[in-house]
């Protein structure tokens, strides 16, 4: 987990994104229990207060909830997870569109390149099988 943080963004936000990604992708199962702040801070090698701030943010988003006595859990609200998954996808697509525009590609050119890349990837996957 060392040095995976980008320098231009607060660490806690990068932790939030990391958890969000793992929740919506199903790597972290809905309803499962999270480790303690301390354990998470150690495994990410970050300050416990920074980890605390990230978890508070996830709680505000509803992706994580805290049970006072038992600890923190990933939400079991499947609808919310699906919605969040779409939101993450939208964000990635938005970045793609923005970057293609800044390179001067038209919508059609961008779509063509996108499809070509997909085909290449598919055939690449076929070959590696």
């Amino acid at each position: 987990m060392t040095n995976q943080f980008q320098s231009n963004m607060p660490i806690y936000l990068q932790l939030v994104n990391n958890f969000k990604h793992r929740i919506v992708s199903g790597e972290l199962k809905a309803g499962s229990k999270l480790e303690s702040v301390r354990e998470l801070a150690i495994s990410f090698e970050v300050n416990p207060n920074t980890m605390q701030r990230a978890l508070a943010e996830l709680e505000r988003d509803g992706l994580v909830y805290a049970d006072r006595t038992v600890g923190r859990f990933i939400t079991d609200n499947k609808e919310l997870i699906i919605k969040m998954r779409e939101a993450v996808a939208q964000e990635i697509i938005g970045q793609f569109i923005q970057q293609m525009r800044s390179l001067g590609f038209s919508e059609r050119e961008a779509m063509e390149l996108f499809h070509k890349a997909l085909e290449k990837e598919d055939s690449g996957n076929e070959q590696s099988k």
């Binding site: 963004m9 660490i11 936000l13 150690i42 090698e45 300050n47 207060n49 920074t50």
Partner: protein, 244 residues
């Protein structure tokens, strides 16, 4: 958190260190000028500054190792001195071991000196770091000595840990291990005050940083707030602020 705990929290002064108008001169040169600083419990604070900015002087004063200064410095309400030293676990910037000693000798000394020293914890940490408790200091590498020193210091159950350049002499792999040791072994109500110039390696374990320049505090704040405001890491900001 239980009710009892929250009442205790309210009673806590929430002020572990208070430094008021601290000035320290060597001959006519000011090493520290009019420093004012408050540290609360439960934080890992990075003290950052170029060589000669006063980091070690500030640390020595806080640790009670230097006592001719102007101003007031208290730890948990007590002026720095024998009483505050009992609350402070201090890692100096150079090792003070006698070369004939082995870790077991030092552990016996620490047990005598500090009532809050946890021998069991220290031995466990030594083993985890791959050190032999019977190896003589003079046969140890610089990195091994640094690791051993850190084990001793982190094995005390102190309110304030003051670490002067704890990772200067070890390779990057051992650095991660040392950071891990610091994170694993400090009690969450304690505060760690750590100086370093290897900022990019350690900034993630800080929540607060202090920039020291020519004996004055030029920046102090929460690292993520600084990163958000500046759009850059503490390491990058440091390179800009202290550009030669």
């Amino acid at each position: 958190m239980s009710n009892q705990n929250s009442i205790q929290d309210m009673n806590k002064t929430n002020e572990l260190v208070r430094i008021t108008n601290l000035t320290k001169k060597y001959k006519n040169k000011a090493a520290l000028s009019n420093i004012n600083l408050i540290l609360e419990p439960g934080h890992i604070v990075g003290l950052l500054g170029p060589n000669g900015s006063g980091k070690t002087t500030l640390i020595k004063i806080l640790a009670g190792a230097l006592n001719d200064f102007d101003g007031a410095v208290t730890v948990n309400g007590k002026s720095v001195g024998p009483e505050s030293k009992a609350l402070v676990s201090y890692l100096p910037d150079s090792a003070y071991f006698s070369p004939w000693m082995c870790p077991l000798d030092m552990i016996a000394l620490f047990k005598d000196f500090y009532s809050d020293f946890d021998e069991h914890k220290c031995l466990e940490m030594l083993r985890r770091l791959g050190l032999n408790e019977k190896q003589r200091i003079k046969t140890m590498s610089k990195g091994m000595i640094e690791k051993f020193q850190l084990c001793l210091v982190m094995s005390r159950n102190a309110m304030l840990y003051i670490l002067d350049e704890p990772i200067g002499g070890v390779d990057p792999a051992a650095r991660d291990f040392i950071l891990d040791t610091i994170l694993t072994n400090y009690n969450e109500d304690a505060t760690i005050f750590l100086s370093t110039h290897l900022i990019s390696d350690v900034e993630r374990i800080f929540d607060t940083v202090i920039f020291l320049r020519e004996g004055e505090i030029v920046l102090q704040g929460n690292i993520d707030n600084i990163r958000a405001e500046e759009g850059k890491s503490i390491d990058q900001l440091f390179r800009e602020v202290f550009k030669c």
